[in-house]
Symmetry: C2
């Protein structure tokens, strides 16, 4: 059998990170056009840079994108983001499995 096991918290954080139209578009853009740095991506998607920064942070916290700070030829610091490789199989059974490890307000 495949080990598709994932913790409830992990699943939840990925779902929460994906549950936003801007963030879906961000992933789509990085997937289709490849890695990009923050300011440029903000221009392409049409949202403000601080707002994009916030969304990228959520995606990165969930492990869906990664970033790498680089120096451009002309000396600017560019923070490049790219999509992580991920594949979530979302089914009732997978959710039931993951939910076993979801903490409750009743937990010790």
């Amino acid at each position: 059998m495949k080990d598709d096991t994932i913790s409830g918290e992990q699943l939840l954080s990925m779902l929460a990170a994906l549950a936003n139209p801007h963030r879906l578009r961000i992933i789509a853009a990085l997937q289709s056009q490849g890695r990009n740095y923050v300011s440029q991506l903000a221009r392409e998607i049409g949202i403000s840079r601080p707002l994009l920064h916030l969304h990228l942070q959520k995606l990165e916290d969930a492990g869906l994108v990664t970033s790498q700070l680089e120096l451009s030829p002309d000396g600017k610091a560019l923070n490049y983001f790219e999509v992580s490789r991920f594949a979530l199989e979302i089914t009732p059974a997978a959710i039931a499995e993951a939910a076993k490890s979801l903490s409750t307000h009743l937990d010790p």
Copy 2:
């Protein structure tokens, strides 16, 4: 090729519906123990009935659960919920595909 196509809005509404710990537990409970009616499910999960009602509504709006009103032997109206059969393949490519049909604030 498989037609895994899904609209951006549809994907988004499912992701949003899943991105909550209570709702994951609801799906897990219905999947593991089978269909159940609202009051009983509320007791099992340990949340109030109105709160469960709200979460069930979101899940139903997203098409992840369905409900059927039935009369118990002793005449009570019981609203039974069960999990829908769904399987979402969440990958960067699938998101890029779905995001094509995501409306923007810039749309006509």
